[in-house]
Amino acid sequence: MGLLGVAGVLALTACGSKVNAAADGGPSSSSSSAAASSGAAKESCVDTSGDSVKIGFLNSLSGTMAISEKTVQESLTMAADEINAAGGVLGKQLEVIKEDGASEPATFAEKADKLIQSDCVAAVFGGWTSSSRKAMLPVFEGNDALLYYPVQYEGLESSKNIFYTGATTNQQILPALDYLKEQGVTSLFLVGSDYVFPQTANKEIKAWAAENGMEIKGEEYVPLASGADFSTIITKVKDSGAGAVFNTLNGDANVSFFKEYKNVGLSADTMPVVSVSIAEEEVAGVGVENLVGQLTAWNYYQTLDTPANQKFVADFKAKYGEDRVTSDPMEAAYTSLYLWKNTVEKANSFAVADIQANADGVSFEAPEGLVTINGDNHHIAKTALIGKVAEDGLIYTEWESPAPIEPDPYLSTYPWAEGLS
């Protein structure tokens, strides 16, 4: 009876003292200093001695996010194949290891750890939801490894171990607001899913509106789980008489939202909706007939008329099928692999510290146009594009920022945003 208890206690005390011994030498038990994480980082096991180098793709291939994240993995695969066909990076072929994040943050953390510690990859590309990124962040900082994250997000983050190749708020949401103001819209209704991105975005939108004399007529959230009932919300939207709707809904909720929107007789002419989570991939799901004429805010559309994009779209269709479309996150993922390649070649090294030191100013003629890494915050300068959904299901540019916008994840250059972060 007592045998096990004794064994348990013995074992626990035994390992407790082991830890104390290590703690004396190491930077353990420091709980409040921010430097603690970097001090104890594990040794990198990346092997660059052979004629190939490993990289990891970590996307959800199962679960609710699979439908979106699979497309990102496809464009990443295409980029890796292109790079390998053109001679690799620093003369080394890329050996890709693919993992499934299963749409669960904890799985993303586990698989990131596996890619870094077990497979010894030089960099990891992937993640979609903010929760998946937040879950991976401590893993990459703890191991001092690199993540390239390809999706627009809510900003207010900047890790030296993450490169953000999607837009932050001042490259997507703020230009959309400026555009609406320019169009003479004086009041907005905010609709979003009930989670961090819409909440943070709407906080910023309200701060911006207070500064720019835009009236916020209402703010409504629906749970992320699908099956939300929009009839009440749409009635509120209709009765508000707002000039436009700012839509931060995610996923399936958009289907019911736009159907109901059309049912009550609202349209892009009477009250336009600006969406920040609907790209080419989602248009078919929501239904083109429900979306025609509505606005979107991104940094890339399939219809962009640049030589790099024509090649990107043609290659993608040739590889994955004529009926496929390309979208902003896919393009940002494709771009992220090239930005990593260009940084490695500039640094002439695969080491994390060398990449961090050489990242500033690295650019790439991407399908969306020229993009450049900002070495301070690890985001990239991108051109903002307001688009309109057309009958053919594609999105055409209505307005674009005159030049690539410098990333400002903490909105520190906007006085009205003080106190938001």
């Binding site: 096990l4 190491g26 291939l61 401590p138």
Partner: protein, 377 residues
């Protein structure tokens, strides 16, 4: 030498074996990364021991252990975030302007209160829920549905507490980016190893508690409740009380598993406590053999291990394997993998019978299997 062969000693052989595997073999042969994964599986195994007690012995098909797992996990997570933030300061995921925290958050700043809460919170919730349902003779599928609804509601509650005024739980993003565990740096591999030993130690203690309960008079009563509550009532016992005890202990075990999960995995989100993870916790127990002492442990570790390995080899393929495994076990091996031996023995008996050889006498386990099939919900 009589001691060695006594049944009292042989009952502890599995414990010694498990201790050798966990404390000597595993740390010896596994890399830091794999050892950390095993530590995560052990957390689910701790939950599984509780499910084995409630479901395997008591017949309560609890589809909502994620709630208790989550209560323990969020108690630990909040403590670690508050500890990282430093005295008097709000965790980093809250707005920097936060200068006041409600008492129910603030109390997790204290280590001893957190440790008490990890056990007492799930136990209290299970006590209230158990009394409310079992006293009303709610059981079988109705209890299963109720417990599952609770898991769904709990996950939603965590999200709501993270989104409405205050951001107490960080919503869907969950709690992550922990730096220390009761003062120990989580990035130090030595401390990760310590967490593994901690999980292994707790697991053995939990299995030991389950064993003592199963072999006690109370264990008899619990199994009697599973077979026929009415008869237990005729004998003068209240089956509701008997079941509540097992349910509360299972909840406390789930809370401990959840609390260990957080420093080991480094993140807890509503997705780890809702309906899907609650069912996943159950599948391991079913596959391992819910009626046995070690079956739930082996099942939970085995299923989690298979999930990690298979999803590495064949991404996106795991879900189908899990479903197929569950169906195969329920259809052909209702006693779980732990009953594999006796099933093979029976099959051989049947085979021998067919070929005209004298069959072995029917093994007692067949009866077990029958009750198992009969009581399936």
């Amino acid at each position: 030498m009589k001691f060695l062969t006594s049944s009292r000693f042989s009952a502890f052989v599995p414990f010694l074996l498990a201790a050798v595997v966990l404390f000597v073999l595993a740390p010896g042969i596994l890399s830091d990364f794999r050892l950390n994964l095993l530590a995560r599986y052990l957390c689910f195994a701790i939950v599984a021991v509780g499910i084995g007690l409630a479901w395997g012995s008591g017949g309560m098909l609890t589809l909502g252990q994620g709630v208790f797992f989550g209560l323990g996990a969020y108690a630990m997570g909040l403590h670690m975030k508050l500890d990282d933030a430093g005295p008097g300061r709000a965790p980093d995921y809250m707005p920097p302007t936060t200068d006041w925290l409600p008492g129910w958050i603030e109390m997790f700043r204290s280590g001893p209160i957190t440790i008490a809460a990890i056990v007492l919170l799930p136990a209290a919730v299970a006590l209230v829920l158990g009394l409310a349902t079992f006293k009303r003779k709610v059981r079988g599928a109705y209890f299963a549905i109720l417990s599952q609804a609770l898991a769904a509601a709990f996950a939603l509650l965590i999200i709501v507490l993270g989104s409405q005024s205050g951001n107490y739980t960080n919503g869907t993003n969950g709690l992550s980016n922990f730096r220390s565990f009761f003062g120990y740096d989580l990035n130090d591999p030595v401390n990760q190893r310590m967490l593994f030993y901690l999980a292994a130690g707790f697991l053995l203690v939990m299995v030991f508690i389950a064993r003592q309960l199963r072999n006690s008079r109370y264990g008899e009563l619990l199994r009697a409740c599973q077979s026929s509550e009415e008869r237990v009532r005729f004998l003068g016992y209240d089956p509701a009380n008997v079941k509540v005890v097992a349910y509360v202990i299972a909840a406390a075990m789930a809370g401990i598993g959840g609390a260990l999960f957080v420093p080991i995995v480094g993140i807890i989100t509503p997705m780890d406590v809702g309906v899907a993870p609650s069912i996943a916790m159950l599948i391991g127990v079913a596959i391992g053999g819910r009626g046995t002492l070690w079956g739930p442990v082996i099942g939970a570790v085995g299923v989690a291990w298979a999930q990690s390995t298979l999803s590495e080899q064949f991404p996106a393929f795991w879900t189908y394997v899990q479903g197929a495994l569950f169906i195969v076990v329920i259809a052909f091996l209702p006693g779980g993998l732990a009953s594999l031996g006796s099933v093979i023995r029976n099959a051989r008996g049947w085979w021998d019978d067919k070929r005209g050889r004298p069959a072995e006498p029917p093994v007692a386990v067949t009866d077990d299997l029958k009750t198992d099939v009969g009581s399936r919900v």
